[in-house]
Symmetry: C2
C-alpha cells in the first residue's frame, strides 16, 4: 500500500469543503497543489464570466479569498490543529481583465511570521495573520491582487 | 396602458444582466429597488452558505461589488448614457456573520460628486467614482462594508 503525502490528503479534504459550499461549487473552484509555499486554485471561465465575457470581479475576489483561507486551513491541519478560519478584511485591486481560466495563488504576506502565528495560536487558541494572493494570467501578468487579514480560532 | 417608471424598467434590465452572468445567477442575486438614493440587492442564504452555516465571504464581496456596479450602471442609463462599468479596486471589512438573507445597499461615497462625475463622463467618455456599500442584518447591524472605485467608459 502506498502512503499518501499528508499535504495531498489535506488538499483533498479542502476540495471536499469547497464542493460542500454551494457558491464555491457553482464557481467550480478546484485546488491545484502547493508550489513554492503558495496554495494554487483555479476555476473555469464559463462558470465565472461577466457581461463583458471576462471573469466576474466577485469570482476573482472569491478565488483569492479562498486561496488565502485554504492555505491557512491546510497548514493549520498539517500542524495538528483543528481551527475555524475567518476573513476579517481585504483589499483588492483589479488590474487586467481575465479571458481565460482563473488561476490564483496565495501565501502569508512577505515577512509575515508563520512560526509566531502558530505559537500565538497554541497559547491563546486564536491568532491573526495577513495573507496575500494574486490572480495571474498564463502570460505571467498579474490580473488582480488581494491582501487580507484572517483570524483562526481553535475548534471546540 | 400604464406607463412604467423608467427606474423600474432599468432595474428589470439590471436583473436580466445579473441572470445572464452564471456566477451571479448561481448566487440568486436579486434587485430590490432604489430607496434613499441607494440600490438594494438581496440573495438567499442557502445559495451562499459557507462551511460554518453562514454567508460565504466571497458572496458578500460579490453582492456589495454588484450593488455598487448596479447603482452606476442604472444611473448612467437613466442619465441617457450607454457605458461599460468596471470595478478598479475595493476594500472590504467583515464585521459579523450573516445567518439570514444577504441584503446589501450601495450608493456613491458620502460627499462624492455625481454631477461632476457625469460632466467628466460627457466630456471625456470616461470617469471614475468611489462607491460605498454595506450588508445589513434585519436587526439593523452592519455585517460587512465595501468601499470601491469604479470606472465607466462610454460604449462604442
Amino acid at each position: 500500500m502506498i502512503e499518501q503525502d499528508p499535504a495531498t490528503s489535506e488538499l483533498q479534504a479542502l476540495q471536499r469543503q469547497f464542493d460542500a459550499m454551494p457558491p464555491v461549487a457553482a464557481m467550480r473552484i478546484a485546488t491545484d497543489g502547493f508550489r513554492e509555499g503558495m496554495l494554487h486554485l483555479h476555476a473555469p471561465l464559463p462558470a465565472n464570466v461577466n457581461d463583458k465575457d471576462n471573469a466576474f470581479g466577485g469570482s476573482l475576489a472569491s478565488l483569492m479569498t479562498l486561496a488565502g483561507w485554504g492555505w491557512l486551513t491546510v497548514q493549520l491541519r498539517l500542524a495538528g490543529h483543528a481551527a475555524d478560519v475567518y476573513v476579517a478584511d481585504s483589499q483588492l485591486r483589479y488590474l487586467a481583465p481575465v479571458y481565460e481560466t482563473l488561476a490564483a495563488r496565495a501565501g502569508p504576506e512577505a515577512g509575515d511570521d508563520w512560526p509566531g502565528f502558530l505559537a500565538t495560536f497554541r497559547q491563546r487558541g486564536k491568532a491573526r495573520i495577513t495573507m496575500q494572493a494574486q490572480v495571474r494570467l498564463g502570460s505571467g501578468a498579474v490580473a488582480a491582487t488581494f491582501l487580507g487579514r484572517f483570524v483562526a480560532k481553535a475548534k471546540g
